[in-house]
């Protein structure tokens, strides 16, 4: 479980990458990103989440993005990434969310 708090933008990119990379590479565990307290995201942040999803899918590893605040969801919808995220969440639910 990863809880993201604050702003996921260009300034936070490196820190996010450092924190999440080891978890992303562990295909044996379910990775859930919680966005409840995400106050801001831009194309950099969206790009990082998509990259994460790609990594997980390549490994056949389970991945989900949860509790997306409405203003963040709006940007996900606008950019078309919600389709990929909900597909990942559905797959994870189908094969069981317990790790």
């Amino acid at each position: 479980m990863v809880y993201i708090k604050g702003e996921l933008d260009l300034a936070a990119a490196e820190q996010f990458q450092r924190a999440v990379e080891p978890l992303a590479n562990d295909a044996t565990k379910l990775l859930v990103i919680h966005l409840d307290e995400l106050t801001y995201i831009d194309s950099t942040g969206i790009g990082m989440l998509v990259a994460l999803l790609k990594t997980r899918k390549k490994q056949g590893a389970r991945f989900a993005i949860e509790n997306v605040p409405p203003k963040v969801q709006r940007l996900f919808d606008l950019t078309g990434v919600s389709y990929f995220f909900s597909e990942a969440n559905d797959t994870t639910e189908r094969i069981g969310g317990q790790s």
Binding site: D9, A11, S43, I46, L53, K57, K71, G80, F84
Partner: protein, 162 residues
């Protein structure tokens, strides 16, 4: 500068750590002008995307500045984001500026999403690339129906005003 326009200017280092300062300034000014929460959120993302491009592409890792100019008028807020670096090839990026379609995730590329967001979230976007890059983002004030007085002025009332 147009008549009845108030201008606020801000210069920040072309460094990702200062883009939030541009957002904070925008928030303060847009709130002062009466823009809604959603409109301000949209503008925050658009301005940040323009700043991101300046940070990533303008100066090739050298130090440089981003100059922001907020032009506040009765009907709109225009934000001009300018750098003095090498011109960013917006035309090339504009070709990719689209939402991600439902193709396999492996084929998804994020490049161009920033420009797409600027265009989707603002009412008008224009880019000039001479002596660096200048991005001009405009958001018009969408007022309630009762406030569209200028659209329903009768000829007689115009005469009275003249």
């Amino acid at each position: 500068m147009k008549e009845h326009e108030t201008v606020v200017q801000l210069s920040i280092p072309a460094d990702a750590q200062f883009i939030d300062i541009a957002r904070l300034t925008l928030y303060g000014l847009a709130a002062k002008m009466g823009f809604s929460y959603e409109e301000i959120e949209d503008m925050k993302v658009a301005v940040s995307e323009a700043c991101n491009n300046a940070v990533l592409h303008a100066y090739n890792g050298r130090r440089g500045m981003i100059h922001l100019r907020f032009e506040m008028s009765a009907d709109a807020l225009a934000i001009v984001i300018k750098d003095e670096g090498k011109g960013f090839d917006y035309k090339q990026v504009a070709k990719q500026a689209a939402p991600l379609s439902a193709k396999p995730i492996e084929d998804v590329k994020i490049g161009g999403l920033g420009l797409f967001l600027m265009e989707a979230l603002m009412d008008d976007v224009s880019v000039t690339t001479a002596d660096g890059t200048e991005v001009r983002l405009t958001k018009f004030r969408h007022r309630g129906e009762g406030e569209h007085a200028h659209e329903c002025i009768s000829p007689s009332s115009v005469q009275e005003q003249a």
